[in-house]
């Protein structure tokens, strides 16, 4: 075969790997009942594709071919090593005995496997950081090194986390299933939480020099899209909407030299209109279902901001109303803080300050830098300079993100003049 065609096949295999490898893996995990075996089988299948496709041509259904080949290779390998472990032997025989024609694999079934993989990686019996790592590794196909870099963790630590999580899945027998209807809502909450954790790590890095790690946000949005496609529940749509609406401001929220720009000072022409449109549409669909939750409401709030052509045009009364609803379904001090800021915009800084002081007096947010930053801002606007300075200093002492520190330091310097 001419060199050029071989290269063409390789490109095709690469493209199929990018598009199909996670689907094929998800199905192999179900068929083989083991993450490590399935990963090994996936690589064997692609190795076989590179070897055989240049001669045999690309099969009509590459996905089914890869699943079938991967499973065959795994069974073969198990048979070869079975003399050391009679248990594996039994598994191999069972696998080989099952109906072997993979070309009949239904696409629906494969899509179910992707959903199974998501729910298994986000099982609440796994440690929270392991759920995130495992989801990025298995569902998104990021390498251990990529995940470690994104979370500023040492690669061996992260690898160990993934190994332990897979070990627990196997040993404690975490099922490879989409939960039944009554357990679904609670388990879906956990999947959404993991996706939003990934998004937030990319949107506002919890430490380090750079304000955002956009790759993680993109990955989270991709996950959100996949979930909506596989399981179009209102809150899954709400979360995707929220992420799109927040992501739409990315270009506007930091200056070219990495300085933080708050919402009211952002150049709104930099907001991504396509993302806003898509987010708004998803949010509306979720709201209309009447089965929406906190993500949809947060998306609705982001939407009110997106609709304002300039900060002065923001409908703060609407935002306060949405926060009231949010507090009713999910009471939290951080939501109360955000509501206080909205109230300050509607009724003036004195009203906001009263709410924040009551919140801080309860002690819930004493160590949360944004509570002190908001208090500082209200005091500044009320001309209470001494109190403002104290609050900025308190906020500064509580955050490690460099651009946020520079922003707060800038405000402090302005007060000194």
């Amino acid at each position: 075969m001419p060199q050029q065609d071989t290269q063409q096949i390789r490109d095709t295999v690469d493209a199929i790997y990018r598009a199909e490898s996670r689907r094929v893996l998800a199905t192999l995990i179900r068929l083989l009942g083991d993450f490590d075996l399935a990963e090994e089988a996936l690589h064997e299948a692609f190795r076989a594709a590179i070897k055989q496709w240049p001669d045999d041509g690309v099969p009509a259904n590459p996905r089914a071919w890869l699943v079938s080949t991967g499973r065959f290779k795994a069974v073969d390998e198990m048979r070869r090593t079975a003399r050391f472990d009679p248990l594996d032997d039994a598994v191999a025989e069972r696998l080989a005995g099952e109906a072997g024609d993979m070309s009949t694999l239904m696409d629906d079934e494969l899509e179910d496997d992707r959903l199974r993989l998501i729910f298994t990686c986000c099982h609440p019996a796994l440690p929270s950081d392991a759920q995130v790592a495992l989801t990025l590794r298995e569902v998104c196909g990021l390498t251990t090194e990529e995940i470690a870099r994104a979370f500023l963790t040492a690669a061996p630590t992260l690898a160990q986390r993934i190994v332990r999580a897979k070990n627990k899945i196997k040993v404690a027998r975490i099922p490879y299933e989409v939960p039944e209807r009554d357990a679904l809502a609670q388990r879906l909450d956990n999947v959404l939480r993991v996706i939003y954790l990934v998004f937030n790590e990319g949107y506002s890095a919890s430490s380090g020099a750079s304000l955002t790690r956009s790759d993680l946000s993109e990955e989270a949005i991709r996950l959100g899209r996949l979930l909506v496609e596989l399981l179009p529940e209102p809150e899954a749509m709400g979360l995707l909407a929220l992420m799109l609406l927040q992501e739409s401001r990315r270009a506007a929220r930091a200056s070219p030299d990495g300085e933080l720009i708050l919402l009211d000072a952002q150049d709104r022409s930099l907001w991504n209109r396509a993302m806003i449109a898509e987010g708004t549409q998803l949010m509306t669909r979720a709201l209309m279902s009447r089965r929406f939750g906190p993500y949809t409401l947060q998306a609705a709030i982001a939407c009110v901001h997106a609709e304002a052509s300039e900060p002065g045009a923001t409908d703060w009364a609407e935002i306060v109303g949405l926060y009231d609803l949010l507090l009713r379904i999910e009471p939290s001090p951080v939501v109360e803080l955000n509501r206080a800021v909205a109230v300050a915009m509607r009724d003036g800084p004195a009203a906001g300050l009263g709410l924040i002081d009551a919140l801080l007096a309860r002690g819930d947010l004493a160590d949360y830098h944004l509570a002190h930053a908001a208090r500082a801002d209200f005091c500044r606007r009320l001309g209470r300079t001494g109190e403002a300075r104290e609050a900025y200093e308190r906020a500064l002492a509580l955050t490690q993100v460099e651009p946020e520190r520079r922003f707060l330091q800038g405000r402090l310097n302005e007060l000194a003049h």
Partner: protein
């Protein structure tokens, strides 16, 4: 009178043992199980998988919460045990959530580990 004998050790210490020493300890456990069976003392007993495979279940306000790890509050004391057969962890969680004190304290679920003379996992 029936008694429950609970076995405690530091997993970190076990982790540092050589594979041979670990297998020897497991073989001793198997042998001791036979000894006390012969003497008529043994009613049952199993080894457990390490703590990182544990899952803790609580029920508060009718809602089941599941967390990783053996995170009973230090102020909680062992009050009883159920030895169950379940299809998988979700099935076990459902059973555990039905145990009445799950509403007051916590139920730790630990998979049973098969003892063998060699090749024991840790």
């Amino acid at each position: 009178m029936k008694y429950l004998c609970l076995v405690y050790y530091q997993e970190s210490e076990i982790g540092q043992m050589s594979a041979d020493a670990w297998d020897t300890l497991n073989s001793e456990c198997l042998a001791y199980g036979e000894t006390i069976a012969k003497s008529g003392h043994r009613l049952g007993g199993e080894a457990l998988e390490p703590t990182h495979t544990a899952t803790t279940v609580r029920v508060r306000n009718g809602r089941v919460s599941t967390t990783d790890g053996p995170f009973a509050e230090t102020k909680e004391q062992l009050a009883g045990f159920y030895f169950i057969e379940a299809e998988n962890l979700d099935d076990a969680i459902e059973v555990a959530a039905g145990i009445p004190p799950a509403r007051l304290g916590s139920i730790e679920i630990r998979p049973v580990r098969q003892l063998s003379r060699s090749g024991n996992t840790r």
